[in-house]
């Protein structure tokens, strides 16, 4: 069966150029970057080249402001807990949003259980935060604001620049989870004015199990893991040279392709949105129509449930995702959709198509062709329609 992958926000295929780099560092240049000998030096150079490539993509002042981690989840945990522990003497209040990824929300929950106080700022119906609501949440003991750059479910982009400017007035540090944004839209840490930023390799055609954390010079950070002298002791463990070099290559690729990727995906995205909206009755687009990732289509299909849509799509060879609790084994529908004010039924009926650089117009057209019949069949079974 020809398969159409439209779940790029869950993970992307590794680009062949990236895989070639990973292979090189698995099979030939396999040294430990801490070793004194030839193999070690080659590995060390690869690490530092990758650091420059990441720094370059996000406009960091210096490659030394980047730490490599095992992924977005670790970057988020390190940023939030790392700052919280390092700044605990200055205050115990942290501001985040209601629609963050679980890595951020649950890191905050863990801190709350240890005595920190967390304020979760809400969002509007399109998933966007009001920077002034962040200002209102700031207290004398606020040490950190963590707000995502682009939401993973509905693709809404947040006004991080404004939020960072406000934070600066109060001398509060800002972290942004840019896992979904980097590689999709142009991201510049200097323009954003953030102090910390999380990235993940596998959301941008790089390998899984590797991520990065941007840490602006002089930002206080306590490591969560102890060991050797790797990554300035802020993230010890033998460096995943192959993965890191792969992530570097993915950043290089993103830099080369960004403008065209963006343009290309936007066109596909809007075609898919228009197709779904015109072919299927009682469908709503979730998220912001304009402040939105170029690859995200998230719709609520009234009267039916997300997992059953996904299963039906999968039988047609189409891979998508959903904000229904049934897909995650949790008991609640997507906290993000609920925070945007959707009812439980409607939240359960969400489907997310996230496009990638390998998707073609035919793929989009096939989804538009297949989805209506699926919806019709499931609606016929539903007591809600």
């Amino acid at each position: 069966m020809r398969r159409i992958y439209m779940d790029h926000s869950a993970t992307t295929p590794v680009h062949p150029r990236v895989a070639a780099v990973v292979n090189r560092f698995m099979l030939s240049d396999y040294g430990n970057a801490s070793s004194v000998h030839h193999f070690g030096k080659v590995a060390r150079e690869a690490l530092e080249d990758a650091r420059s490539q990441v720094a370059d993509l996000i406009g960091a002042d210096s490659p030394s402001e980047l730490l490599f981690t095992s992924g977005g989840t670790e970057s988020d945990n390190l940023a939030i807990k790392g700052v919280a522990y390092a700044r605990r003497d200055q205050g115990r209040h942290i501001i985040t949003s209601a629609i963050e990824h679980q890595a951020v929300l649950h890191a905050c929950d863990a801190l709350e259980a240890e005595g920190f106080e967390i304020t979760k700022v809400g969002v509007d119906g399109q998933g966007r935060l009001d920077p002034e609501a962040v200002r209102d949440a700031i207290r004398g003991d606020t040490i950190l604001i963590s707000i995502m750059l682009a939401n993973n479910e509905v693709g809404t982009l947040q006004p991080i620049e404004e939020i960072a400017a406000i934070a600066k007035e109060y001398d509060v540090l800002v972290h942004t989870d840019a896992v979904q944004a980097v590689g999709q839209i142009s991201v510049d840490v200097e323009a954003l004015g953030v102090d910390l930023m999380s990235l993940s390799g596998h959301k941008m055609y790089g390998p899984k199990g590797v991520g990065a954390l941007y840490v602006r010079r002089k930002t206080p950070l306590q490591p969560l893991q102890n060991g050797g002298h790797h990554e300035r002791r802020l993230r010890p463990g033998t460096e995943n040279v192959a993965g890191i070099a792969g992530m570097g290559e993915a950043c290089l690729l993103a830099k080369e392709e960004l403008a065209i990727r963006n343009q290309y995906l936007l066109r596909l995205r809007d075609r898919l949105i228009d197709g779904i909206m015109s072919e299927i009755p009682k469908v709503y687009l979730n998220g912001h129509p304009d402040h939105r990732l170029p690859n995200n289509v998230n719709v609520s299909i009234v009267g039916i449930e997300g997992e059953s849509i996904l299963l039906s799509l999968d039988m047609k060879g189409i891979a998508a995702s959903s904000g229904s609790a049934c897909t995650s084994g949790s008991l609640e529908a997507s906290h993000c959709l609920l925070a945007m004010g959707l009812t439980h039924e409607v939240a359960h009926g969400s489907v997310r198509f996230t496009l990638g650089r390998d998707n073609r117009q035919e793929d989009v057209d096939e989804v538009i062709r297949e989805l209506p019949a699926i919806v019709e069949r499931l609606r016929a079974m539903s007591p809600l329609s």
């Binding site: 009267g303 039916i304 449930e305 997300g306 997992e307 059953s308 299963l311 039988m315 229904s324 609790a325 049934c326 897909t327 084994g329 008991l331 609640e332 529908a333 009812t343 439980h344 039924e345 359960h348 016929a380 079974m381 539903s382 007591p383 809600l384």
Partner: protein
């Protein structure tokens, strides 16, 4: 994740729809957890002669609804009462762990439909008494 039996019942569910003038009907679930099942039964001489369902929910919810309506047909009311959610899951070759409690409600819906049947019967008997 799902067994072949689940996928078969999800793909070709049996007994989808409503029964006009059912002898009993029952609904379980709630929007929060994402599964709502509605069951209709037709009863003759204390025997379930037909059953239909309408379900809003995941693959497991649809498959359990389908197989449960199959299981109940031909059973006496007493036998139908003894059908458990566990039996329904077993008839499908098992369900993923996280689906066992949240989407495996078909037997409950059935029991509600039977309750409803018996209430109506009682009401009718009292009405005619």
């Amino acid at each position: 994740m799902y067994t072949e039996a689940v996928m078969e019942h999800f793909t070709n569910p049996k007994n989808v729809g409503e029964i006009e003038n059912p002898d009993g009907e029952g609904q379980v679930g709630n929007p929060t957890c994402g599964d709502i099942m509605k069951m209709y039964i037709k009863v003759e001489d204390d025997q379930v002669v037909d059953a239909k369902f309408k379900t809003f929910g995941c693959g497991a919810a649809i498959a359990t609804s389908s197989v449960a309506t199959e299981m109940v047909k031909g059973k006496t009311i007493e036998e139908a009462r003894n059908i458990t959610n566990r039996q329904v899951a077993e008839a499908l070759g098992g369900l993923p762990g996280n689906k066992m409690h949240c989407s495996n409600l078909a037997a409950d819906a059935l029991h509600k439909a039977i309750d409803n049947y018996e209430e109506r019967k009682k009401a009718r008997e009292e009405g005619t008494a």
